[in-house]
Structure formats: structure tokens, C-alpha cells
């Protein structure tokens, strides 16, 4: 049963990857402007020589019919060859691999921060005695989710880099350079987790078994931490995929604001330059992370909660 289930999920994953590849190809093709005109012109070079553009276009293969460009690129992608960046002339996969470590460091740190931040906030809001404090804490997650990431980044920069000069305003060097960008991403992601957990805690606390625990004389803290939280945390786990999406899109903005290297910067530059091979490589990679994360969650889920069977998740997923 496991074997069939996993094979089926992998098949679905492949379809997701193919769709991501194709849609990104079409979107880039539909956007006005192509790599050749951007290469020949752009910035201060407005004298675009049509002959040069035509020459570049044929060198880059942009003069071939759309379906041909697509099929050739897809065929190569199946063998792991994602083509050469039209802007830099370097293999797109090399560019991805080089940009990956700083983004992994950033998102991993941000992930840890958001989980801690989310759990602490949700529990604090639930455990707080005073009504006003509970209200205040409960209003933080919706606020955190809705603040634009770049604004959080600029605010943190203003406070902790420009004024008190505790952290650098740019770059990738050392742990210090990671702190502000990670907090920037962790605020909306943490708020998202806090929102989910609070909701789930509330519904768990309303369940009859909680009353039984309370009736047995357990303290409120014990009720919440020992019983309700454990059960409430499980539904939040399913949202890990969405959370990873949030972290990655947060990285795109944050890497720009903090002048950090990473796949966020890579993809922004590539979209601006209509660098199709690089954009597609990043898109397929992001889709792959998504697919794998969701698969892992679905596989881990029944291990945590015995009541959930694979058959049921498989059914839901299909």
C-alpha cells in the first residue's frame, strides 16, 4: 500500500513540475521584450542596432517557432540540462546551485524563528489571564501577516543597522548579516503559524476530552501545554508546504532589500532580463521543494497521529 501510494504521489509531483515548467515558459513568452533586445539595449544604451538584435536572437535560438523552442528546452530539461543563461552565458543549473546556500541558510533560520515565534505567540495569547492582553496578543498575527515584507525590512534596517549599527545593512558575510533578513521573513511566517495554532487551540480546547482532563484536576497550563497543544499542533503541520512557499517568496523581497545573494535575487534579475532558462530552473526547483515538502508531511502525518491512515490521506490528496 505504501509503495503504490508513494508511486502515485510521485506521479502527481511530476505533473506539478511539468505544469510549473510549461506555465513559466508561456508567461515569459507572453511578456513583452526578449533577451536579445534587452542584451543589445537597456540602461544607457538606447541605440539598438536591429541587425545586432537579429544576430543575437538567432544565436540564442529566439527566432525559432515557439513550440520548437519549448520542445527542445523541455527535452533537454528531462535530461537535467536546463540550458544556458541568455544573460551570462553560464549554465542555469550552475547559477541555481551557487545561489542556493545563502537562501537555504536564510530560510532555514527564518523557519526556526517563525516556528518559535508562532508557538510562543499562540500559547501566550491562549494562556494570558487578562482579557486585554489576550485581545492584544490575538490581534498581532493578522497584523503580522498583512504588513508588506519590504516595509518590515526597511524598518528593521532603520532601527538596528542605520541607527544603533548592531547588524550590517547588506551582504552575506557571517551570522550577523543573517539576523535582520531572517527576522523580516519570520514576522509574517510566524504570524501565519500563530494564526493557525490559535485557531486550532481554540477548537481543541472546546472538545469534551479537555473537560475531562480539567475535571481530573489538571492545571490550566497543563491542560493547554500537555494536551491541547499537542493535538492542536498536528493540523498546522499540513500547512508546512504553504509556509515554505511563504518563506521562499519572502526571500525574494528580503534578499533585494538587504542586498543578499540567493535564488530570490537570481530570479528577479532573470525575470527582468527575460532570461528564460534561469527563471525556469528556479521555478522547477521551487516546485520540487513544494512537492517534496508536501509528500514528506503526508508521510509523517500518520506516524504522529495513529488515527490518520494512509488510505484516507491518499484519498484526500487525490
Amino acid at each position: 500500500m505504501w509503495g503504490r501510494y508513494i508511486a502515485r504521489r510521485i506521479g502527481q509531483g511530476v505533473i506539478v513540475l511539468w505544469a510549473a515548467y510549461t506555465i513559466s515558459f508561456l508567461i515569459l513568452y507572453l511578456l513583452p521584450g526578449d533577451a536579445a533586445t534587452l542584451f543589445a539595449g537597456g540602461g544607457d544604451q538606447e541605440a539598438i542596432d536591429p541587425e545586432l538584435v537579429a544576430q543575437l536572437r538567432s544565436e540564442l535560438g529566439l527566432d525559432r517557432p515557439l513550440y520548437e523552442q519549448y520542445l527542445v528546452a523541455l527535452g533537454k530539461a528531462l535530461t537535467g540540462d536546463f540550458g544556458v543563461s541568455t544573460q551570462t552565458g553560464r549554465p542555469a543549473s550552475d547559477l541555481l546551485l551557487e545561489s542556493l546556500p545563502p537562501t537555504i541558510a536564510l530560510t532555514a533560520f527564518a523557519f526556526v524563528l517563525s516556528v518559535v515565534f508562532g508557538i510562543v505567540l499562540a500559547l501566550a495569547a491562549s494562556l494570558a489571564r487578562a482579557q486585554w492582553l489576550r485581545n492584544l496578543l490575538s490581534s498581532l498575527p493578522p497584523l503580522g501577516v498583512s504588513i508588506p515584507v519590504f516595509w518590515i525590512g526597511l524598518l528593521l534596517l532603520q532601527a538596528f543597522s542605520f541607527r544603533i549599527r548592531l547588524f550590517p545593512s547588506m551582504g552575506n558575510e557571517g551570522f550577523e548579516s543573517l539576523v535582520l533578513p531572517a527576522i523580516t521573513i519570520a514576522i509574517p511566517s510566524g504570524a501565519f503559524i500563530a494564526q493557525l495554532l490559535s485557531r486550532s487551540l481554540r477548537s481543541t480546547l472546546a472538545q469534551p476530552y479537555v473537560e475531562i482532563v480539567r475535571a481530573k484536576g489538571a492545571s490550566e497550563r497543563r491542560v493547554q501545554l500537555g494536551h491541547a497543544f499537542r493535538n492542536a499542533a498536528i493540523p498546522s503541520l499540513t500547512m508546512v508546504g504553504v509556509l515554505i512557499g511563504g518563506l521562499l517568496s519572502g526571500a525574494v523581497v528580503t534578499e533585494t532589500v538587504f542586498s543578499r545573494l540567493g535564488i530570490g535575487r537570481l530570479v528577479v534579475t532573470a525575470v527582468n532580463n527575460r532570461d528564460v532558462p534561469v527563471v525556469q530552473t528556479v521555478v522547477v526547483f521551487a516546485a520540487l521543494v513544494f512537492v517534496v515538502a508536501n509528500l514528506v508531511v503526508d508521510l509523517v502525518y500518520p506516524l504522529i497521529d495513529r488515527r490518520i491512515t494512509l488510505a484516507r490521506t491518499a484519498f484526500v490528496a487525490a
Binding site: L31, P32, G33, D34, A36, T37, L38, F39, A40, G41, G42, G43, D44, Q45, E46, A47, I48, D49, L52, V53, Q55, L56, E59, Q87, T88, G89, R90, F150, L154, L157, Q158, S161, F162, R163, R165, P168, S169, M170, G171, N172, T256, V257, F258, S259, L261, R265, L266, T269, N272, N273, R274
Partner: protein
Amino acid sequence: MSFTRPRIAALAAIGAVALTLTACATGAGDPAPTASAEAEPVTGGNLTFAISVDSQCIDPQQVGNNDAIAIARQTVASLTIQDPENGEILPWLATDFEVNDDATSFTFTLQDGPSYADGEPIDAASVKTNFEAIQALGAKATLGSSYLADLESIDVVDDQTVTINFSEPNAQFLQATSTFTLGLLSPASAAVSQADRCLGDFVGSGPFSVQSYTPNEGAVLERREGYEWGPSTAAHTDEAYLDTITYKVVPESGNRTGSLQSGQIDATTGIATADAVLFEGDDFWSLNRANPGSVYNLYANQSTKKLADENVRLAIQKGIDREQITSTLLGPDDVPAVSPLASSTPYFTDLSDVLEYDPEAAADLLEESGWTEGDDGIREKDGEKLSFHVTYWQSPKEVLELVQQQLRQIGVDLQLTFASIADVQAANADGTYDFSYGNLTRADPDVLRTVFSVSGTSNATKRTEPAEIDELLDEQAAIIDPTERQKVVDEAAELLITGGYSIPIYQLSTTITAASKVQGLGFEASSRLDFYDAWIAE
């Protein structure tokens, strides 16, 4: 109008005066660098400079973006140097140069002694290798290959003498040899792949060498030991003062401002106009210079029926209040265009007497052509509205929005689309636009031929039949004698205005904003940054 750049701070007092003069010349109130009068340049130190965009390449023979040029320029020396004060072409690596009468053949005699950073001598054969490599790069070396268009042959006469022959008169080539694009790289670099050269894998001839380059992060240049062929326009001729220059890519404007204020970077050209006021104290200085070349211009597509009418083009030109644009929207250093050429371009002449804001005359011209005011205030003829469209990416975007309001007052409707560079190029590529908008930096009046000539590389006005203006533009390209050339360039510039070919708006300029400890950082003739004389005062 004269433009000076800060000479070395050994003459700090003079430098301060020069800066003040520059400030006066541009009508600005820039504070001068606050170096003490006795300050002598010191060797050593690192200067951190923020750039706004990374064009993914720092090879001098391939780049075209100003931020990339700020890196690339420092790594190469050129055959000649252009004096930023008067535009004159002076010897650099070539001690002597001769041009034949019809500007088709250029002979350079090279200094004996200078070498590439790998020890190879800078000789005639290596010049040939360089220019052939640029030709081979083709479209990947946009600027260089346009400078070398019509190249016929390169003769290595002897070790120190090289002759470059063109099939057409090419007076601009002499100025081109002073630019970073035709800066010299070691012959070994010609064999390196285009992509690797972009990543900094090249060996130059300039005062700095590439230590590292990471796209989207930045570059580090280090001082070239043994460099002693600084140009005569610089304040010294031996090794550069700075140990290293660290360029950091900082795309976010607010980050650049805050980082400069808090000392995390030392200088930048990327401070937003609105933030300039933050740097007016003693701790910072700023220096502005107009970018030479073609000013910001609305290029009318003359292949369209409406804009083929000279009256319509002239009316639009006269209906734009340039003074109002610079005084309300731009910084104190930005000045209205008074010619198709920027004031820092050699052979520039002020044409403000023929380029006037005159809405009444504009209205008369439109009446004369039969465009009468409709119910909504927009003029009409034969049921057609006097309406145009322009797609542009240049900032500040408010400039064309104000032009739009101004033109409405004379009954012209200008529709605007502010878009990305990619979108703008796509919109302009097929030539169906009404107007395109832009500037082109080049410290030679031949830039007018590039943008306006019917046979020019861009032919931005989309004309199909050669006219008197094209004769003038071709003529100036073949004149070596400065007095003669001045006459023809003046005639061409005036005809571009009176014939309604050029609708100039304002001059693009570059502003360096730096911490007061940064000394000697200035502009070369093309208003690109020159770090050779720069040093750090502690």
C-alpha cells in the same frame, strides 16, 4: 559653462574652489569636500562604493550600463584620454596619434614600457588583437562594435606603431579610443570565453585589477603594482592610492541612503533626489556632472502622418516648459536642455535662443496646419484627434507626466505608459511608436548621427528619406579640424531644433555622494567615475 572635476587634494583648497565652481556652473549648492588644506594623498585603505544595479558583467569591452562601467573603467587604460574640461583628446598609452584628412585612417604610436597586468607588453600587435576580439564579440559588445563599424584593416607597422583603417570617414573613432570600451586587455584575455570574461576573468592595463566579482553581490578591485602610466588629465601618474575598491550591489534606494549615512558604504551615485538633502552637512560632499551626449529627448516617429508635419513637431517642442520641469520635479543640479547635446559634450553650443518655451507660437503652428480645438480642448483635424502615445521606463516618471499637462494646454494629447525596460524596448522595437524617449551618453557630437541620422544605428525619428540634416551629420563625422567641425556641428544642432527633429527636455546628470573622508573621486570626460586619484583621509 565649464565643468571641472576635483583634482587631487594635495591642492585641496583648489579642489574646493573647483567644486564650488562646478556647483555654480550647474546652479547648485553642493558642499565641497571638507579636506584640510594641508592634506596630502595617502596610499592605502579600502573604499566601499554602492552600485544600484548589476548587469551581470564587468568586462570593459562588453558592458554598457553606468554602474558596470564604474567598475570596468578602472581596470583598463586606453590609447587616448579625453580632457573632461574641454573635450580635447590627449595622449595616454599612445604618445602620438595621426589622422588622415578624410578621417579614415588612424595611426597610433605607443609608449614604450607600459604592460598588461600579466607582464605582456602593450604593443601594436596587442592593440590589433584587442580590436579584433571586440569585433568577434559582435552583438555582445554593443558599444565597441558600433565604434568599430566599417573597420577595414589593422596594420601593425612595427612594435610601437599601429594603423587602423576604415572604409568610411569616422571622426568619432579618436574619441572612442579614449573610452573604457576600447580599453586594452592582455592578448590572453581575447582567448577567454565571453561568459568568463564577464565574470572578471580578464587581464587589464589599468590602475586596478579584478580581485573578485560575484554577480548580484559586487566586486573587489585591487591596486595594480607597478602601474605608472596614469593619464595627463589625472593628478598623478604612478600607482593608484587605494589598496582596494569594494563595490556592493545595493538595489534598494533606502538601503543605499541609510548605509551611506551610517558609514557602511563610503560613496555612491545612487542617492534618490528626495534624499539628497540628508547629505548636505559637513560629513558628506556631493559632486554633479551632466552626462555628455544626447539629452533626454522625445523622438518623434516621422514615418507617421501626424508627426511627418514639421509644424506639429515644432509645436510640441515649443509647448514644453523645460524650466518648470527642472525647477519643480528635479534636483538643484538638473538643468533644462538648451540643445540636442548636453552641455558637457565637446562642441556643445547653447541654443536657448532658438529653443524657447512659446505656447502661443505652438498654437499658431497647429492652427496653420489645420488642427483646431475640439470640445474637449484636444485639437482635431478631419475627425482625428491630435493624440500621441509614448512608452517609457526612465525615472523620475513625473517628468513626462508634467510634459503631458503642458502639452494639453496647447491642445495636444500625450498618452503615457510607464513600464519596465523590457516592455519599453518591445514597444519601440517594431517602430510603430509615436514617440520614444531617452538619452545616450557619449562625449562626442557624433552621438547626434547615432540617434538622428536616417542611416544611424537607432534612427530614432524613423525617417526614410535622407535630408539636409543627414548631410550635415555625415559631414561632421569626416572633419578632423576642430574649428571646422564646430561649425558643422553647430549647424546640425540648430537644424535639429529649427527643423523640429529634436524635442529635447532636460540633461541627465550623475551625482557622486560621498563621506567627507573620500577624496579625489571624480568624473572622466564621459561623466563615468574615475577612482584613480581617489584616496581615503583618516
